[in-house]
């Protein structure tokens, strides 16, 4: 990790750790969904940002986490949240193996639609099989112990704003470190190679499908952990969590924060959570504002908040082009762009009009 990145990560963690001291418990408890989504998005972005596969069905795995928590804690009576987390993650990864196996045979829009179809299949299962899943009223998720402590002296809000907040923060840091290890390992480099040029990677002896499947399964595990956290907060697992617009929301948050950066999804989750909460209290037309923000990001700032921050940082530190490697990349991109324009016939506009 570069020193500046490490410092930023530490500062951000410290700021999050100090938040409960400065803000009233109600607002602090609003941060729990942020932790849930941030962890889910860390996994989601391994697939989207690092492997180049856009899933429109990952809310399914968030749902597996939430319903997994409901089944384990509510039906089977497991009260240790750690056990539930591990169980939910394992369940999601087991579910993800066959689904991933089928989905990763395709890329691009077909991958997106296949994941969407599986997500909606799961949603309609939850919705329609009332006696198993509670249908549209969902399943209750009872209160659980964290770290073996019952913490009965706290009420729900105090628990969420106090011990559970720090628990989630620690979990996010842990997941962030694990993901950092993953993307910087040879495994992560393989994924990036596949994203940039799958055929070339295959020539070099990379088992493209195996790596894509691995990324899919890992991302499902992270999503389930996030889902379990979300379910713990609401005390309910309901099918709305799995609807396809939720999958779209996951993509939204990732793009908002910036998918080309490890911390982008975390920033995106934070920005989205705060934004949504603020907008909801301001206007009933918050979806319109969110949609407009998404449109602006997609059109004008495809690298998201982290991309904007990187550009500002670069400009502020008076280094127009940070180092030789980036410079090469810029030149290279320019070259590719030129070639593309020649291919598209855009350069010879005189003849095309």
């Amino acid at each position: 990790m570069k020193a500046s990145t490490a410092v930023f990560a530490l500062l951000a963690t410290a700021a999050l750790a100090l938040l409960p001291l400065a803000e009233p418990p109600y607002y602090v408890s609003l941060m729990i969904p942020f932790f849930g989504y941030a962890i889910a998005l860390l996994g989601f972005n391994l697939l989207f940002g690092y492997t180049g596969l856009l899933s429109f069905g990952h809310a399914m795995f968030v749902g597996v986490g939430a319903y997994g928590a409901a089944v384990m804690a509510g039906v089977l009576g497991v009260r240790q949240f750690e056990v539930v987390l591990v169980g939910a993650a394992l369940a999601a990864m087991i579910v993800a193996v066959p689904i991933g196996f089928l989905c990763i045979r395709y890329i691009g829009i077909f991958f997106g639609m296949l994941t969407l179809a599986f997500g909606m299949l799961f949603h309609s299962f939850l919705f329609k099989f009332y006696h198993l899943t509670g249908g549209d009223s969902g399943m209750r998720v009872p209160r659980m112990n964290i770290l073996g402590l019952e913490l009965a002296q706290y009420n729900k809000i105090e628990l969420l704003a106090g011990p559970f907040y720090y628990y989630c923060l620690a979990l996010l840091v842990l997941c962030g470190l694990v993901m950092w290890r993953i993307v910087h390992s040879p495994f992560g480099l393989h994924l990036k190679a596949i994203r940039d040029n799958a055929r070339k990677a295959e020539y070099l002896g990379v088992h493209v499908r195996r790596f894509r499947l691995a990324a899919f399964v890992i991302s499902a595990g992270f999503c389930a952990v996030g889902g379990a956290i979300l379910a713990f907060r609401i005390g309910l697992a309901d099918p709305e969590l799995v609807y396809w617009t939720q999958s779209g929301q996951l993509v939204f948050m990732t793009v908002l924060g910036g998918f080309s950066n490890l911390f982008g999804p975390i920033v995106g989750a934070l920005a989205f959570t705060v934004l949504q909460d603020q907008l909801q209290s301001l206007t009933q037309y918050w979806r319109f504002v969110l949609g407009a923000i998404l449109a602006v990001i997609v059109i004008g700032f495809p690298r998201g908040i982290m991309g904007i921050a990187e550009d500002l940082w670069r400009r502020a530190s008076q280094r127009p082009i940070a180092d030789a490697r980036t410079k090469d990349q810029v030149l290279n991109n320019q070259q590719v762009l030129n070639n593309q324009q020649v291919l598209d016939g855009r350069v010879s506009r005189g003849g095309a009009a």
Partner: protein, 293 residues
């Protein structure tokens, strides 16, 4: 016997509406390679606008017989919203397809609140009855004529779009652009105009479909995001970019939905997704698609 015929006709009616929206999706995907999530919003927009327009028409004492033509006009007029939206989408042409998908998702979110702003959060229905056109009865089977008219309109639209694409010069230009954009442009096709036209035509198909259903169903805020999924199922089953595929897919989805609602309600939506997944896995290009996945 007549129960089955009723189910069948219900399925075909639904398929007719699905076909119109899916045809718009196919047109846009075939030529522009954009998967338009906002097609559901166009559908809902047509529905809301149709209700408003017919409401005014009734206020000014126009003949209730003008219901169907009125709704068609409503769909055609409000479909022109496709022009400015295409202008917006232009900024992401040539970018990664996930960005195009996301921009249409953003539109879907925004439209949701546009509807809330203009038409309020509660479902809206048309006051005037569509039974003005009467019903046809045979034995204990009775079908509203309106439903038959909508089915006929969809068939006409299918013939019209197909004829336009296959027989007319501009249709050939569209297909050429779909086939090879760069080559078409090199041969002097104004691709920007083609894109604007195709997207607007796709929008009009969606809004018209929405307008046509309001006599039989309510317009609600959820209809957009719910309908997107069904339209997608149609397109995937039929094959992305194929008009014949849209027709076949619409019939498959419409009939399966109608049958399973009555026979086995638990599996209503489930069965559609199972078929979608099966088609994607066995024949990812769909029943009539030409692309290889």
């Amino acid at each position: 016997m007549s129960a089955y015929a009723n189910i069948l006709l219900g399925g075909v009616f639904h398929a007719a509406v699905l076909f119109l929206v899916a045809a718009g999706l196919q047109l846009v995907f075939g030529v522009q390679k954009i998967v338009n999530l906002a097609c559901g919003s166009f559908y809902a927009l047509g529905a809301y606008f149709g209700i408003t327009l017919i409401g005014y028409a009734n206020q000014y004492g126009l003949s209730p017989w003008l219901l169907l033509p009125g709704l068609l006009v409503a769909g055609l007029v409000v479909g022109l919203v496709g022009l400015p939206i295409e202008r917006l989408l232009r900024s992401v042409y040539g970018r990664d397809e996930s960005f195009q998908l996301l921009l249409t998702f953003a539109l879907l979110l925004m439209f949701q609140d546009v509807f809330r702003f203009f038409w309020g959060p509660n479902p809206r229905t048309l006051d005037s009855g569509y039974l003005i056109y009467g019903t046809i009865s045979a034995g204990d089977l009775s079908v509203p004529v309106y439903n038959l008219l909508v089915i006929a309109a969809a068939i006409l639209a299918a013939i019209g779009v197909g004829g336009f694409l296959q027989r007319t010069n501009y249709g050939r230009i569209l297909r050429a652009t779909a086939e090879n954009r760069a080559m078409a442009e090199a041969l002097g096709v104004d691709v920007r105009r083609v894109y604007a036209l195709v997207f607007t035509a796709g929008t009009i198909l969606g809004t018209t479909a929405g307008a046509l259903i309001v006599p039989t169903a309510a317009a609600s805020l959820d209809m957009a995001i719910e309908f997107v999924i069904e339209a997608f199922a149609v397109v995937v089953i039929g094959g992305l970019g194929s008009m014949r595929g849209a027709l076949a897919g619409a019939l498959v989805v419409g009939l399966i939905r109608a049958v399973s609602i009555t026979v086995f309600p638990e599996l209503e939506v489930l069965s559609i997704y199972v078929i979608v997944i099966a088609v994607l896995l066995i024949r990812p290009a769909g029943l009539f698609g030409t692309q290889t996945g």
